[in-house]
Symmetry: none
Subunit: 317 residues, 2 copies
Amino acid sequence: MDQQIRALLSRAESVAVVSHIRPDGDAIGSLLGMGLALLHAGKKVQLVLQDGLPQKYDFLPGSEMVQRSIKAPFDTLIVVDCSDLERTGVVLQGQGSPDLVVDHHKTNLAFGRLNYVEPQAVATAAILVEKLPVWGFEVDREVAACLLTGILGDTIGFRTSNMSPQALRIAADLMERGADLPMIYQKTLLSRSIAELRYWGRGLTNINYEDGLLWTTLTLDDRIKAAYPENDDADLINLLSSASDILVVVLFIEQADGKVKVSWRSAEGIDVSQIAFEFGGGGHAAAAGADIIGSLENVVEIVLTKTKSLLGDRKVN
Amino acid sequence: MDQQIRALLSRAESVAVVSHIRPDGDAIGSLLGMGLALLHAGKKVQLVLQDGLPQKYDFLPGSEMVQRSIKAPFDTLIVVDCSDLERTGVVLQGQGSPDLVVDHHKTNLAFGRLNYVEPQAVATAAILVEKLPVWGFEVDREVAACLLTGILGDTIGFRTSNMSPQALRIAADLMERGADLPMIYQKTLLSRSIAELRYWGRGLTNINYEDGLLWTTLTLDDRIKAAYPENDDADLINLLSSASDILVVVLFIEQADGKVKVSWRSAEGIDVSQIAFEFGGGGHAAAAGADIIGSLENVVEIVLTKTKSLLGDRKVN
């Protein structure tokens, strides 16, 4: 596999790299890290995120290159951090299969011609740290900053239940290559806009809790009242999952298109990806999501029923 | 130095280990880690913290051994994570100099007979990870859990400006020796009650912002609605002061006794302690507080007027 990928990337002259809608730290870090490694090796590169780059990642090298659609011909298509083609949005409609998919989601559908999928990796960016040199590319100072952003994002600052000694060592290597850990941590995980904090306030005020199951909602009205400009949860899920005595956290985000974005987080030993999958979504055992058609009220009801039946008689320790 | 320490600890039969008042993660982790390493090598051990062990550290191995004073004779005295003797409180009064001091504060006064002080280390616990084996002791699973607690505490989860690649690698080693990073992180740095989160929600929903000045209120009613049992802010001020584009944060907490507890936080170069002082309170340039008699409404008004006049024409960058 490594040899095939190396050959593919060596041949490539003009590459489009794409990641997922509502991009998070790992989507962005992997996209920019992969893109800059190719660029610094003399390739032409397009970096595509359908939803564009959230402002707080502006400081990253290569951020100014991100575009919302494919704008020019390319000979090689790479998709990073996506378990299926739908996760990229509509930017790849009519483009055929990606030449290479690099991902760490265990639900990955292997939708590329070559698929490098490592479910044990804490982040797609962590895979790239190890594999870019194997595939013939340098992890320089700029690439290192992007990839550390990805690892910090998906491990929420080295604290998710899948954290490994290897992930810490990879981060140490990236620091030595010049990535400024405290600065990246501050900018991507800590710094919050006033609108985000107000929006969190609405979600936190509405918390419900029952036998280890915590859930809350973010409505369209909450978003308007808080003047929060995005259609996501502003990472509220991470704060919620830090609550004590939690087995599962579910967050419902009402969308303007008649759907509800649902995010699950779970304690060790509880696999929420199976529920997400039933609702047409995906993810990992400990962190999963789905976009579900229906009113907020109805989606809350059916999702809570399913989630409670997954928990069964399980009790908080 | 290592040889002298090794000889000292080899001779020791009964050891008292002491750390500082108002103990934090590194004081506790270093105390327990050092103590358990000695205990597991067959020594008698007393572990002493004048203020006892905060409840959230209860889960750590050896936590049940912590006592608030010296209770029995000992032949060897070790002080960890203290820059001077005063930091231990009064537990060592009349005991003479410690035989060994292990610390990472650059202000350390070298008040022991032997002093192992490494100001570059991110935590005293990080020194012990490297030195315990050199001094003849094993970093077993229990010791590893304690020492990782110390590192996480002093680096606030690997994010302080002094973070080093070495600190990440040390943490990786501790994970491999059996320390459960996600669990320790959760218990010592994150764990928030549902009531705290709901209470935060009310404060965040009410955020006001004007030209770099952010303020919000927590009313008695908020406290009741959230079922929050304390009369403080549940550390909400720390979250507020992580907001972007902030010069000063002011938090007003309505009290049952007709007072309002006011907390200020400020960006570098703005001294809020002078305002706090005018209202009968005190603190530091960047963090100050006062208890002010009056209705919430009135206190908000007079405090904001004073605070705005301190800011004058200052603008957010």
